[in-house]
Amino acid sequence: MRIIVCIKQVPGTNEVKIDPDTNTIIRENVPAIINPFDTYAIEEAVRIKERAGAEVYGLSMGIPAAAEMLKEAISLRIDKGILMTDRKFAGADTLATSYALSKGIEKIGEFDLIICGKQATDGDTAQVGPSLAGALGIAYATDISKIVEIKPDKMHCLKITDDGYEEIEIKLPALITVVKEINMPGLPSIKSMKAATNSKIEILTFEDINADENRLGLKGSPTQVRKTFVPVHEANNEMIEGTLDEKAGKLSEILLKLRTEVK
């Protein structure tokens, strides 16, 4: 069985600061980390490997420095890291990213399961997983919180919903996205870190994949970000003074006025 885990490098979540003038994320001096949701995807793939035997590949699209992140993923016990990096891939929205990843996966060849984190903590779109499945023409299920059983041709899992769980049986090859309830990611061991240090990350450029240039990067991205902003929460307190009767009177006036405004 071969499992591909899609991994994204994101800015360290606790350290995100927004530039007050431009309303964009300040990326200078912010350490890059593995998207936290992807660590659950990595852990789940590794658990399947330990339980049923599998070969686990980590796939990422990003800047050359993301190779270090894939090495970190190897220290978390995946077998191989593959980085898609090329200027032509840059500036991609979720559609162009999914297309590029699908072409990378075609290059890799056969696979049984793709696992993605539920979403990335920088964009928060949760779109890449499902649209990657679409691009590959395979079945998918999102928000998986437990893999009950996995067989060569199908798997049985639980999907977390607002009201509870859905039991799902899905034919392989398939793609799932996982939520943090699925496992508790482990730390690397000295042995797995040694393996990571000695590993080589495979690089895929535009030349290596059979892709339509017009569907890649900025060119292939219909999404345009018009504006990003930090939501402003305004809370005003007003103290009502006076005797008990006066306070009650003023309060009812305010409530009545609010009701009219809502109407």
Partner: protein, 534 residues
């Protein structure tokens, strides 16, 4: 105020974390040293005993009064000044005894102090603080401990393997004596001479002259059992770890350490206890494995016994609070945890690679390790470490529901390096022979393990207490210390008798009487009151 009203209003001040309950007639919460002095003078005149309290987090009942007056220092909680030594590039803070460790840490990491009443030198010193990131290295688990308490019992913590105990970082003390006079001692100011004679001058100009005792302290890495005594010692060290028996500490100057850039943690699971101890010895560079010389210089070397891991594993299955600990596999037998601070990740990694080979060479498996090299993952390992005492406390709380006289039984003894295996054998045999439930964890790098007996009923509780006294005797015979970091307080007075004979204890009493002739301070702490012995 009659006693019932007093107990109703101030009952909590009759106890500390040792869960012992004492008695007293009055209490004061001074805000300044001048207020301490006037209270001490008044009590001395009336011959009323005084018990000094900080945050009452001590485990040896030092702060539990027998009778008389309580001076509680919790309202003296200000950082009062700073000093920078340009030559040594060292930074110092002056703190009042009621400052809590947690507060101090916050001030230091934010580099933010209320400096309104500071002198010019202190305010100027602050700008040197900006040059580096600093920290206070004494790290007892209980961060709500007060700085006065930390100085009084010479507290330490996990990082003492590298940084030593509180003593090593205290550079000045102000101590109010029984007559209201004040000692203002700086480290290096008063050194005992070759004949072990010493003199200290008080602020009023009075000369206190004395002779150091003849008893020898145990040759261990950590010790706070009775008065510090060493030929040629700095006299400030007599007051550190004196459990409040010589005077009242009204101000402390501490030296900060520089924070290093990277901090790693590794939990190593070994296949048995013997191999875990061998790993500790390799980390301490006492032995080499396959000719590999480890130069990790850890700041902490901690231990978790097989039973401790079993307890955590059980809790993990049933208690949601512990579910965010990584799975403790059944093959994991005993664990050693180390923490490394350095300025370079590469340097640490080179040593960790060697550590992996040493683990394999000892019959362990470098794959059975948890490595953390960033703050988020290190937090996970800290959580795991703290889960152990947490679990013990939860179990004790449950047993307390059946009999509220039962308290936690935890040891605090240390031995010389070459006696570590003997001490562990003694603990394991004692627990097994008496059929008790116990978990062992703690500062194995300093040969200082906390054995925690979890008594299931009152008879086991009594058995455990008897066992502790037997162990104290054996530890003393091994050349160990009956208290390594909690202090002797009142609870371990019988233990100290196993370490020092009556003549030696009398030497301590003589020292006390030199500074506190009427023995009004913390009577019954470290040793019994002289008249009670006769």
């Amino acid at each position: 105020m009659d006693n019932n009203t007093f107990i109703k209003m101030y009952g909590e001040y009759l106890r500390d974390e040792s869960r012992q309950v004492g008695n007293a007639e009055s209490i004061a919460f001074p805000k300044t040293e001048a207020e301490i002095i006037s209270t001490v003078k008044e009590m001395s005149r009336k011959d009323i005993q005084i018990t000094t309290q900080g945050a009452r987090t001590g485990l040896a009942a030092s702060a539990v009064p027998y009778k008389g007056h309580i001076i509680n220092l919790s309202k003296m909680n200000k950082v009062t000044g700073a000093r920078y030594d340009e030559e040594k590039d060292s930074f110092f803070l002056t703190v009042q005894p009621g400052v809590l460790l947690s507060e101090l840490r916050k001030y230091i990491s934010n580099k933010s102090f209320n400096a309104n009443n500071w002198d010019e030198q202190s305010v100027n010193a602050l700008k040197y603080m900006e040059k580096n990131q600093w920290f206070y290295s004494t790290d007892p688990t209980e961060t709500s401990a007060s700085m006065g308490g930390i100085a009084s019992c010479n507290a330490s913590g996990a990082k003492s393997y590298r940084y030593g105990s509180a003593r090593e970082h205290i550079t000045g003390l102000r101590v109010v004596l029984a007559d209201g006079d004040v000692l203002n001692i700086k480290r290096g100011q008063y050194i005992a001479d070759g004949d072990s004679k010493f003199h200290i001058a008080t602020e009023s100009g009075r000369e206190i002259k004395g002779q150091l005792p003849k008893y020898k302290m145990p040759d261990v890495r950590k010790n706070t059992s009775g008065y510090y005594n060493m030929p040629g010692m700095d006299m400030i060290d007599l007051f550190i770890g004196s459990d409040g028996t010589l005077g009242i500490i009204s101000e402390i100057e501490i030296e900060l350490s520089k924070t290093q850039k990277v901090n790693w943690g590794v939990t190593i699971f070994m296949p048995d206890e013997d191999k875990a101890v061998d790993l500790v010895r390799a980390l301490r560079q006492e032995i080499t494995v396959d000719n590999i010389n480890l130069e990790l210089n850890p700041s902490a070397i901690e231990f978790f016994s097989h039973n401790a891991l079993c307890m955590l594993r059980d809790q993990q299955k049933t208690n949601a609070a512990f579910s965010n600990i990584q799975e403790i596999k059944d093959i994991y037998h005993t664990a050693v945890y180390i923490e490394i601070e350095s300025d370079s990740n590469d340097e640490v990694w080179t040593e960790i690679e060697k550590l992996g080979d040493v683990i394999n060479g000892l019959g362990g498996n470098e794959d059975e390790t948890w490595v953390a090299y960033n703050p988020a993952n290190l937090e996970k390992l800290h959580y795991f470490r703290h889960a152990c005492p947490e679990c013990v406390n939860m179990q004790i709380d449950n047993i307390k529901k059946t009999d509220n006289r039962i308290t936690k039984l935890g040891t605090d003894m240390s031995v010389p390096d070459n006696k570590l295996k003997d001490a562990m054998k003694m603990y394991n045999e004692g627990i097994e022979e008496n059929n008790l439930t116990a978990v062992i964890f703690g500062h194995i790098g300093n040969n200082h393990l906390h054995v925690n007996i979890i008594p299931q009923n009152m008879s086991e509780y009594k058995k455990g207490k008897e066992l502790f006294l037997i162990w104290a005797g054996k530890i003393a015979a091994m050349g160990g210390a009956v208290s390594a970091e909690h202090g002797v307080g009142k609870l371990k007075v019988p233990f100290l008798k196993k370490m020092y004979n009556e003549e030696e204890l009398n030497e301590m009493r003589k020292l006390k009487k030199l500074f506190d002739p009427a023995q009004i301070f913390n009577r019954g702490t470290i040793f019994e009151f002289e008249e009670d012995v006769k």
